[in-house]
């Protein structure tokens, strides 16, 4: 049942987690009633119309590339009948009473939910603002509101030939009572929403000229720059330090022990880095991880041989023996992955003893606000967060434990009040710092007979995303639904289906990574179904379609991508082959076909990826395309090249010299088709990722190589 299945998504998980986070972390009155939180549509909360006619949208979602600023402004401009040239955007302040994610009950960006959760809300905001401007103009002109027209930012009254602009009525409009109800536009009359290239991104110019300000760019008088020495092994704790040499470095001001390590305070970043290098540290390794990735895979393989916890489809049915037929088996090993956003984690904090003012790329503002309040012992309302533009996230800034906000607050607290600090992680801190996409192991068994797939068994082993975090209460009966999302229910009608989960333990902290569970389940499932269809003698596209009777939107994108690519089978000539994959994630459906060859260097070369996406009603088609392109590139790079190998309980690598990132010469050509839909809008930030890896693997199989059972495809010697 589709509706029930959606409740197993991360979005739903966060929805419940909101209650938990708010209930347990935040000393905010009324927050516990988040389930009944009213959806705020007051124009004064979301819009600032200035005398110069500019309309600034206060966007509750953080902008780190997926376009929520432009999207929110598009939706509001549409209902407001504004001229696009007058639209601006900035981040809303942290204030859960006004800016809660309507699906999560806390101020948060994630689960590709920005449009899914705010499309209706922003339409109402825009329509109410329009009504209030009209009423203000009608009052000023002493005419009937019904006779007033609004078009491209011009308010007019044709009978009396009067006209004005938003700016001149904004002040009066803001004082009017909010209309109880408004009529929204008929989508058939939209001029901006869904109209290709009707608007450009609001942030492109600033980001093309170096003028966009990120957290790392903050400089304030008297500010100290701080780096923290973290333990080399996961789970280790700071024990003691000797700062004698560190303090000799010119510009180093102080060294303090905090919960996560030793903080080095300096007058500039270079001094902080040098001071940290000179610092002598002692770590308590008593609770530290000691294993290496290979040992963990071996442990996971052993776990997978035992019965796990049944999840998803047929979870309550008794285990059955496999039916007669050809038994096909596979295992897939997926490594720890760093998110590695271009801007490493960073934050600015000014604590004066009474209030704390933080400026950083906060993605879960309400959780971060609560965590900061706890560190300082302040009430929540004395903690202010200015959300900054952030140089990427891919999940890294949506921290279940608010660990970075905690470290930032501890750094400020340890040096004392009225000393502004900017905490910056280096790239090594980022790559070695954990909070990875968990390492996963999949064991699959399938039975094929008479050209049909008769049975499917999947054992999934990996760390829980939620266990041990404030989100743990979202686990029901010990099941973390997002570990197995995408594997515990298939797009394919296979009656004898069983999926079992094992939750492994490690001190290595993990976190959701662009498309969360689907990063690994998409690979295992779409590789294995392709393998079984091959065994059954079926075409990868036709074979999938035959099993998708109950999933028309999945079938729709698969047909669309086959048409776009002119699919005629797996062979593509010229030493190239094609592979296909289709995934549903976050309510959106994406199918991709990859054309791959083996390059002169022996590495796979992905030439082109065709992509079809159904994300419901589209707000900005070009942003949808951009997210598919970006999601595909992110997936190609990690599939082929990326792994954070763990050796003796710590990350063995620390920078882009060894954490190999996709470069322009490795980026495939991408062609995207958006399947028209009037379903409610769903997200695009993550859903472009999951099909790419299996599409590449399935193409490699067609080139005579086995689908890689261990990623990345190109492994370090």
């Amino acid at each position: 049942m589709a509706a029930a299945d959606l409740t197993l998504s991360r979005r739903a998980a966060l929805q419940g987690a909101g209650a938990l986070v708010l209930g347990f972390l935040l000393p905010l009155k009324g927050a516990r009633a988040q389930g009944a939180r009213p959806v705020v549509t007051a124009p004064n909360a979301f819009l600032r119309i200035a005398a110069d006619d500019s309309v600034t949208v206060l966007v509750k979602h953080i902008e780190f590339g997926q376009g929520p600023w432009t999207a929110a402004a598009t939706v509001i401009a549409e209902e407001l009948d504004a001229d696009w040239a007058q639209m601006r955007a900035e981040h809303a302040p942290a204030n859960v009473a006004l800016y809660a994610n309507t699906l999560m009950g806390m101020q948060a960006t994630g689960g590709s939910s920005a449009m899914a959760e705010s499309y209706d809300q922003m339409r109402v905001v825009g329509a109410k603002a329009r009504a209030m401007l009209v009423e203000a103009a009608a009052n000023a002109w002493q005419v009937k509101p019904a006779e007033i027209r609004v078009e491209k930012g011009v308010i007019s009254h044709p009978p009396t030939k009067r006209a004005g602009r938003f700016g001149q009525f904004a002040e009066a409009a803001a004082k009017l009572p909010e209309p109880a109800s408004v009529t929204l536009k008929d989508p058939a009359t939209f001029t901006l929403i869904g109209k290709d290239r009707s608007v450009g991104r609001l942030d492109s110019l600033a980001k093309s000229t170096g003028k966009a300000i990120f957290t790392i760019d903050i400089h304030e008088p008297g500010m100290l720059t701080v780096v923290v020495a973290h333990p080399p092994r996961f789970g280790a704790k700071p024990a003691s330090f000797d700062a004698t040499d560190a303090l000799k470095v010119k510009g180093v001001v102080a060294v303090k022990q905090i919960g996560s390590g030793f903080a080095v305070y300096a007058e500039n970043m270079w001094a902080a880095i040098k001071g940290r290098s000179a610092l002598k540290t002692v770590w308590d390794n008593s609770a530290a991880e000691t294993r290496s990735s290979d040992q963990m895979f071996a442990d996971y393989r052993a776990l997978a041989a035992k019965p796990g916890r049944p999840v998803g489809t047929n979870k309550d049915a008794p285990a059955r023996p496999l039916p007669q037929g050809k038994l096909v088996e596979a295992e897939f090993l997926l490594p720890y992955l760093a998110h590695a956003p271009m801007e490493p984690l960073d934050g600015y904090m000014l604590w004066d003893g009474q209030t704390a003012k933080a400026r950083f790329g906060s993605q879960l503002q309400t959780a971060d606000q609560g965590a900061i309040a706890r560190v300082f012992g302040l009430p929540m309302e004395k903690v202010f967060i200015e959300t900054m533009l952030a140089g990427g996230s891919f999940g890294r800034r949506a921290q279940t434990t608010a660990h970075f906000a905690v470290e930032l607050a501890e750094v400020a607290k340890a040096i004392g009040p009225n000393k502004p600090v900017k905490l910056v992680w280096t790239r090594e801190d980022d790559i070695r710092g954990g909070y990875y996409r968990p390492l996963f192991y999949h064991r699959l068994q399938g039975v094929v007979a008479g050209g049909r797939i008769l049975a499917w068994r999947n054992q999934v082993v990996g760390q829980s995303f939620m266990k041990g975090s404030p989100f743990e209460a979202m686990m029901h009966d010990g099941v973390d639904p997002i570990v197995t999302e995408g594997a515990d229910e298939l797009l394919y009608a296979i009656q004898d289906f069983r999926c079992e989960a094992h939750y492994a333990e490690s001190p290595i902290p993990t976190l959701w990574w662009r498309s969360v569970g689907h990063t690994h389940t998409g690979y295992a499932v779409e590789c294995f179904v392709d393998r079984l269809l091959e065994e059954a003698g079926q075409d990868p596209v036709q074979g999938r379609l035959a099993l998708m009777g109950e999933k028309p939107r999945a079938a729709g994108v698969l047909k669309a991508v086959a048409e776009l690519a002119g699919w005629k089978g797996r062979a593509a000539g010229n030493g190239r082959a094609r592979g296909v994959a289709v995934c549903e994630s976050f309510g959106s459906f994406v199918a991709q076909i990859a054309e791959v060859s083996i390059g002169d260097n022996g590495e796979p070369r992905v030439h082109k990826i065709w992509c079809a996406v159904d994300c419901g009603r589209v707000v900005n088609p070009d942003i949808v395309r951009a997210q598919m392109e970006g999601g595909i590139g992110y997936a190609v790079g990690h599939t082929l090249y990326a792994e954070v190998p763990i050796v003796n309980g710590g990350a063995a690598i620390g920078n882009f010299d060894e954490y190999r990132s996709l470069r322009i010469n490795e980026m495939p050509e991408v062609e995207v088709v958006i399947v028209p839909s009037s379903e409610k809008p769903t997200g695009v930030g993550e859903p472009g990722v999951p099909p790419t890896a299996p599409a590449i693997a399935n193409a490699l199989a067609a080139l005579g190589r086995e689908r890689p059972s261990r990623l990345p495809v190109v492994r370090r010697a």
């Binding site: 590339g65 000229t209 801007e343 952030a390 140089g391 990427g392 790239r427 190609v636 470069r663």
Partner: protein, 153 residues
């Protein structure tokens, strides 16, 4: 140590250790923050500036090695190539998170000054030192070709 360096046409006197990378001098001494920190080992290109017109990773060049060379950053890059590149970047909505784009723009401008009509391979060679984790590469390529067209290359 005090160093005299010329940045964006202006002489600056900078009191810094000799091993201080130019990147941090630009950012923390001169507050020219358009040039970004991404890796510190010249592997990502976010810190790309021009030294005497040539693209350079400022994160590994010590301030003591700048000498009399003229440094240009994203704040002051100008001329027909810069204008064409930045206009193309906006027209194609290249940036996503935007953090790497100063470096991308600086590399692209340097490329077009050397090779007015670059092939895809020229673009690969000139731009593969600049990582974009958002993978805006499809649009970077398209925008460079568009800028080249505009310049009559």
């Amino acid at each position: 140590m005090t160093y005299q360096i010329k940045v964006n046409g202006t002489e600056h006197s900078v009191d810094a250790d000799e091993d201080t990378p130019l990147l941090w001098v630009l950012r923390d001494w001169l507050h020219l923050t358009g040039t970004k920190f991404g890796c510190g080992i010249a592997r990502c290109g976010a810190c790309t500036v021009h030294m005497d017109g040539q693209p350079l990773r400022s994160c590994t060049l010590p301030v003591s090695a700048v000498g009399t060379s003229e440094i240009t950053t994203i704040e002051a890059v100008e001329g027909p190539e810069a204008k064409a590149v930045q206009e193309a970047w906006v027209a194609h909505d290249v940036p996503q998170c935007g953090y790497c784009q100063s470096g991308q723009v600086m590399s692209a401008v340097a490329l077009l000054r050397e090779v007015p009509k670059p092939s895809d391979r020229d673009i690969d060679l000139a731009m593969n030192g600049n990582i974009c984790r958002c993978a805006t590469y499809v649009r970077i390529r398209a925008a460079i070709h568009a800028a080249s067209e505009k310049l009559g290359g």
